[in-house]
């Protein structure tokens, strides 16, 4: 939906909507791409996290644009303004990301990824090491946190229940629609996942990440998407990509645990860091660090990647 169709405008201090938006055809699926900053400036690519969307960067990206960068981001399939897909997978997300990267020309560029976008950028950097000058990972390093107080047999039962719940979800998903609500209701719901972010920010996000229907506001994210799930994937597969990275790498970990974070602790990261990597551990800051402390993260990124060429 064109953002101009939203008739209820909410402002947030420092927030600026993208300067440009366009679509990329990612092997048959329309992916929405946005940019902040002068179109002639050097690009910096940013990958958002799961259940977020590119316009969650409306404060952070303008700060980087003010430093001389052309910040480019995209909505993952089914998120934000990108098309809803028939199927979703990690491989498909990677292909979508590569399709966006391909439009930015052959020159290598810095990339920043948050959460799922951070893990995605690790794989993208391993597949296309020649395309990146620097890689910054914001709380996107998965870990396998154990549950020492749960017996093995009970864990098996838990997985069985997760399986059934996921299949039950798939059985109901054909006609699923997102629940409508007021701006405040949607902001409050999102607050359950974004526990450290202000209600005012979440209200603002509704107006840039939602659409206003006759019966109320709805998030634009595909209603068939579901948090959690199951499958063979395991976190160490992402971490094993770290030691082999060839470009300068900075990992940033928020030490305040949050429901949307992956519970990763410094000890989970250190053994995998590539030689010369920079590792920042932020006391008192949570998973959405670039939203919670945008100036601090801007300073870290700018210091790490240097000036745009």
């Amino acid at each position: 939906m064109n953002p101009a169709e939203n008739s209820e405008v909410v402002n947030f201090p420092g927030a600026r909507r993208p300067d440009r938006r366009y679509s990329v055809d990612a092997a048959g699926l329309e992916i929405s791409v946005v940019e902040w900053g002068d179109r002639e400036h050097s690009p910096m690519l940013f990958a958002h996290g799961g259940f977020d969307f590119a316009e969650t960067l409306n404060v952070f990206a303008p700060l980087l644009a003010a430093e001389g960068w052309r910040v480019v981001s995209w909505d993952h399939r089914g998120h934000g303004n990108s098309a809803w897909a028939d199927l979703y997978s990690w491989e498909a997300d990677l292909r979508d990301a590569a399709s966006v990267l391909e439009t930015l020309g052959p020159a290598p560029l810095p990339m920043v990824g948050h959460s799922k976008g951070g893990a995605l950028s690790l794989q993208l950097a391993e597949a296309f090491p020649h395309r990146f000058t620097h890689l910054v990972n914001l709380d996107g390093m998965p870990s396998r946190r154990s549950m020492p107080d749960v017996a093995e047999h009970e864990r098996t039962k838990m997985l069985a229940k997760e399986l059934e719940a996921w299949l039950d979800h798939r059985r109901r998903v054909s006609d699923k629609v997102r629940r409508p609500g007021t701006l405040d209701e949607l902001a409050t719901r999102r607050g359950l996942m974004n526990t450290r972010l202000s209600h005012e920010w979440l209200r603002y996000l509704v107006t840039v990440g939602g659409r206003r229907d006759a019966d109320g506001w709805r998030w634009r994210i595909d209603p068939t998407l579901r948090m959690g799930g199951f499958g063979p994937w395991r976190p160490e597969w992402s971490m094993m990509r770290l030691p082999g990275l060839s470009m300068p790498f900075m990992a940033v970990l928020g030490l305040e645990l949050e429901v949307m974070g992956w519970g990763t602790r410094p000890g989970d990261v250190t053994p995998y860091l590539p030689s010369g990597a920079r590792f920042e551990q932020l006391e008192g800051i949570g998973h959405f660090m670039h939203i919670e402390q945008p100036e601090l993260i801007r300073d870290m990124v700018v210091d790490f990647v240097g000036n745009p060429t």
Binding site: D86, L87, A160, W237
Partner: protein, 229 residues
Amino acid sequence: MRSASSDQTSDGAVTWLRHGRIDLALHRVGGGTGRPLLMLHGLAERTPEDLPPWAVSWPGPVWGLDFTGHGRSSLSRGGGYTAEMLLGDADAALEYLGEATLIGRGLGGYIALLLAGARASRVHGSIVCDGPGIAGGGIQPGSPFVVIPRFGRGATPDPFALVELARDVRPPDYVLNYVRFAFESSPAADPVVVSATVRPEWLAAVAAEPGVVEVSRSDALTMFAAESP
């Protein structure tokens, strides 16, 4: 029973099931009464038009499902295929058919095993047979690369399905969870049968699990048919 629409074709009955945004073709290829046998095809295959000779002795109805991106089922724009989504396809068929015995070739055998664990109380035995896609993508990911198929797009078998499902990772410990779920809750006495000759690592692990039966396809069908209803 799941809502479904049916149409008749010259070569048999097709029931259309909806899974998410995908229309799935569920073919009835054999008659009979009693517990259904659900056939799951291999990678890039489709449900056979006629009842296979090896299935003639099955006393109940025989059905075959075209997975997403295969046969007469619709395909996914921009790919996104995973074994777990195909598990959802097979679950849609199971919901329609009720308790059933599953037999799968290659990729379909892997999905049959997953469904036997995931819906254990409703799957009366699963048989894994040789066929395309039996290996999957190994037990852990390889070097990442991005492939955008150029040929054959827009038709089944969807080339995105071929690319993505050929790389589907199958760690043995992950697969064994499903085997154990099947043992816990299946109505079948021996719910997991390996009839395949080829044994990629995931299937070798399954075959080595105590309680898993290794017999021929025909013996397995006879065994499950005898456990009625």
